[in-house]
Amino acid sequence: MSMSPAKVSCMAAIEIREIRKSFRKKKAVDGVSFTVDPGTITGFLGPNGAGKTTTLRCLLGLVRPDSGEGLVNGRAYTDIPDPLTEVGAVLEATNLHPGRRGRDHLRVVCDAAGIPVSRADEVLEEVGLTEAGRKRVGGYSMGMRQRLSLGAALLGEPKVLILDEPANGLDPEGIDWLRRFLRYQAHERGVAVLVSSHVLAEVEQTVDNVVIIAGGRSVQQSALAELTREGESLHEAFLRLTSTGSMPMTFGKAGADQ
């Protein structure tokens, strides 16, 4: 897990190279490339169905890309011997057994990853679930499930975090907590954070860089400040880059007449 500083400076923590993937001849991802550097938060944006989740699943070895590859610290996820100590990933907060207690979920992950089970309690405290950890997940709110899933990703104290829509189902307090949490991870601990979202208002407050994809292709990678430099908001820039023109622009009679 330890890595010389020289190596860190010349290698991106996450590198996506020309990933392509079709499901039953339907192109889900059609040539996406980007990089994420240590100590930064990158927002991975795109409309629903743009290919964000498929790209992340290819990166994490759950889906086999037709071509291209995703690398974490220079190697494929599936080649990392103890992936949890290097990468923490959350795909869906619904990947939990409702009949298992939160604490047991974390302990199962500790066992499989060879991490001492005492980490489970430390992480429960970190995500504010010390009390709730003794209850079965079936009784958790969506926000609690998100925090428990995030907790599992933190067990190995990774230097790379990959989160798919982590703000889904969080209340305003939870969103505020997530924002501070991500900033702490990236800016204090030097973690490379990749966070997908389609909630732009949330992203605008948190991320350093943006990657925007639409229709399975990359359409933008830059610093957030660069994208919004000319006074355009992230919202406007996003629509300009990704709009398909398929949504009606007017409503009611006026729309029908035109």
Partner: protein, 258 residues
């Protein structure tokens, strides 16, 4: 492998399903034992002090194997049902190792089920024989082989369940397929009065298993002469377990988790 075994054991014992199925196995076996008990004590019955009663009663301990099969199926299919398989394969990207750990866990859990049923049910059988004034002649009814075969049958059935679950993945479909197989397909082969059909039937997993714990005078509605010799049946079962594991690992290793 030890960390994965610990994780799989913890997975199994941190939800309620294991003890529900164990109680079901005990209840079903108990019901069958009670039936044998009353039949033997009826006017034209053999009497509970007879060797014939022992030969009828001891093989009844294997009645709970269906529930062992079901827990094996559930050990895999709940992972797909609740999508925890995502977390499992993120922690351990080499999926073949996960399947291997599940098979070993299944063997341990199945043997645990078998031991529990054998101790509780066996005590009941012994008590019923002794209280009727009969003698506990273990050699005459091959009790060590019958009970040993029963415990092995629980272990093998649980492993076969893991194989079926990994192949089918859909929880309801896998459980229904197993129940139809055990309660319809195999019995159908047993009752058809045709030598070829019965010979084919004798190689089927459930019937090969039955030859491990049956006694020569037990009535299965199937001429016991048709059973495979114990050692042939044992080899056939090892073959089934290997086939199921290979098929399970191969398909699991290649499938996209989209």
């Amino acid at each position: 492998m030890i960390p994965l075994l610990k994780a799989e054991l913890r997975k199994t014992f941190t939800t309620r399903v294991w003890w529900i199925l164990l109680l079901a196995a005990l209840a079903w076996t108990g019901l069958m034992l009670a039936g044998t008990f009353f039949v033997a004590g009826m006017e034209h019955g053999p009497g509970r002090d007879s060797a014939e009663y022992g030969a009828m009663a001891w093989p009844q301990l294997a009645n709970g194997t269906t529930f062992a099969l079901v827990i094996g199926v559930l050990m895999v299919t709940t992972e797909y049902q609740h999508r925890t398989v995502n977390v499992t394969f993120l922690v351990t990207p080499e999926r073949g190792r996960v399947i291997g750990a599940k098979l070993v866990t299944a063997a341990l859990v199945g043997v645990g089920f078998g031991l529990t049923v054998a101790v509780l049910g066996g005590s009941a059988v012994a008590a019923s024989i002794l209280s009727a004034g009969g003698s506990l002649d273990l050699a005459a009814n091959e009790v060590p082989r019958v009970v040993g075969g029963t415990i092995a049958a629980y272990g093998v059935y649980t492993m076969i369940g893991v194989g079926v679950g990994a192949l089918v993945r859909n929880q309801v479909a896998a459980v229904v397929a197993c129940l139809l197989w055990v309660f319809m397909v195999e019995p159908a082969f047993m009752v058809v009065p045709n030598e070829v059909v019965q010979t084919i039937g004798s190689w089927m997993p459930g019937i090969a298993l039955a030859s491990l714990y049956s006694t020569s005078s037990a009535d299965f509605g199937f001429d016991p002469g048709q059973f495979l010799p114990v050692w042939v049946a044992a080899l056939a079962l090892v073959g089934y377990a290997v086939l199921a594991s290979l098929a399970a690992s191969f398909t699991t290793a290649r499938r996209d988790l989209a």
